[in-house]
């Protein structure tokens, strides 16, 4: 008769039984968290496009830990800790998501693909109609980065890691991935996971923050009718080309992201319908899917459970909360400056999570006054936020690399 024990047969359970207590608890917690992400994503509380693949990846990878040939535990998904050409080549032939991680994730390609897709969805006409207002609010929405950086240093992070984590305040997922890859390659996985996790939460959490900070009579303010000239496609293209070249000249370190974003805008405005359909559909959603899946799979307990993660979690929430408060303070400043005609809720769109925060602003305003339309203003602010957060991240990278 065959002598096979239960634990030899079911290795996921065996590795759970053999794990140290903190890993055991961590795996069970992450399985539960993954299932919760799927549930809340499906309910519409969290961003479903990212959270559903991320949640299933997270739950599955923590269930599917097995004993490898050399006695270590691991998975057949990917190994982010593989280093050296031989080890990477070996794992590329074994782990099914390793090619996506090595060739698209860890070099920032997936972030650039998302940015091209986002660019094809951006109508920069909203910024061009109100450039100073939009940019002012977007600058206010970077407050979280300013506060999180020294706070990270106070909590014991080195400068590069504190700066990379602080970029979560810019609320731009690809930017967080890109900045942490350059500034803190050792913990970029944890920073990116925390960043995306919180960005997914903004849709559910920001309405409560706005309602707490802006009274209903101000949320109901209807924006005055403006006589604005329609911005033509060639004008938008010209802005995108000039901005791309100038910003790349100033900050070469972020040039891949600038090019990705603005080439998306140029594709949209140049009438290249075939390119636009490809980048705004299959490329954007394909990249978002694999980004979510790989982020989820990277949340394997033994990889991600590090005392630093608790600091990153706290810093991330501080950064995003203060960025939202900064945006709302900017909204209040414009409300005061315009004699009470500007709706301060638009300030929440300064947290540049395009187009989520703009939609949040419109949703909250519509609840207070169904006739009030703030979406065009909010989109302009949100798009400006992409430019300011890219600029801020590029400045931080340049300053720290120079220092």
């Amino acid at each position: 008769m065959l002598d096979i024990s239960f634990l030899d047969l079911f290795q996921g359970v065996a590795t759970l039984a053999a794990a140290e207590p903190h890993i055991l608890i961590g795996r069970l917690f992450l399985i539960g968290l993954g299932l919760a992400l799927i549930y809340f994503g499906q309910k519409g509380v969290l961003e479903a496009l990212l959270m559903i693949p991320m949640g299933l990846g997270m739950a599955t990878v923590n269930a599917a830990v097995l004993f490898l040939d050399d006695g270590r535990t691991g998975t057949l998904f990917l190994d982010p800790l593989a280093s050296g050409a031989d080890a990477v080549m070996t794992v590329l032939q074994i782990d099914w998501l390793q090619p996506v991680y090595t060739l698209m994730f860890s070099n920032g390609l997936i972030a650039c693909l998302v940015f091209i897709g986002v660019g094809t969805l951006l109508d920069v006409g909203y910024v061009m109609q109100r450039p100073f207002t939009s940019m002012f609010l977007a600058i206010c929405g970077e407050l979280g980065t300013v506060i999180a950086l020294p706070l990270g240093l106070m909590w014991g992070l080195p400068l590069n890691e504190a700066a990379a984590t602080a970029t979560i305040g810019g609320a731009d997922g690809p930017m967080v991935l890109f900045a942490s890859l350059i500034l803190a390659p050792d913990i970029f996985v944890a920073i990116t996971v925390v960043g995306y996790l919180y960005l997914g939460l903004t849709y559910g959490a920001y309405p409560h923050l706005v309602k707490a900070l802006v009274p209903e009579r101000l949320r109901a303010i209807q924006m005055p009718v403006e006589k604005l000239r329609a911005i033509s496609g060639p004008e938008k293209m010209m802005f995108a080309v000039v901005a791309c070249v100038l910003l790349s000249l100033l900050f070469p370190v972020a040039a891949p992201l600038f090019l990705s974003l603005f080439i998306g805008v140029v594709i949209r405005e140049s009438g290249l319908t075939q390119f636009r359909e490809v980048f705004s559909g299959p490329v954007l959603y394909g990249a978002t899917f694999f980004l979510g899946l790989v982020l989820g799979v990277l949340c394997e307990a033994s990889t991600i459970l590090d005392p630093k993660v608790l600091i990153l979690l706290a810093l991330g929430i501080v950064a995003l909360t203060f960025s939202a408060i900064g945006g709302l303070l900017g909204g209040y400043a414009l409300w005061w400056f315009t004699g009470g005609r500007f709706n301060p809720v638009i300030g929440i769109a300064a947290v540049s999570c395009v187009p989520t925060t703009a939609k949040v602003a419109q949703k909250i305003v519509s609840q207070a006054n169904p006739n009030a339309i703030v979406l065009p203003h909010a989109l302009g602010v949100s798009i400006s936020g992409v430019i300011t957060s890219a600029t801020f991240a590029a400045i931080l990278i340049s300053m720290l690399r120079a220092g």
């Binding site: 450039p131 970077e142 300013v146 100038l246 910003l247 319908t273």
Partner: protein
Amino acid sequence: MTDAALGGLQIALTGFALMAVVSMLCAGLIKLIVIGLARSQRAKRAPAPEFVMPVRDDRAAVAAAIAAAVHVALPRHRILRIDPARQSADWTREARARQHGAHAPRR
């Protein structure tokens, strides 16, 4: 606050100030582009031709008939332009739909 945190605050504030300056310059650049292009378009715009009803043109009668029919059928809509039918940029989608339709098993 520790020295390291003060140093970090200094870096963050310097970076923030630089970002604000660059972003506002970007806003100024946008304004310049919008104003410059608006002026150049105004200068290039030719005077509008005198309106002459092409009464002897049969196409005008056809266009008027189409407009009247659409107005009767869809009173809340306005005709902005009547053009000869052109092949749209979505020809791939149309071709794909035809091909998929041709293979529908229940037809």
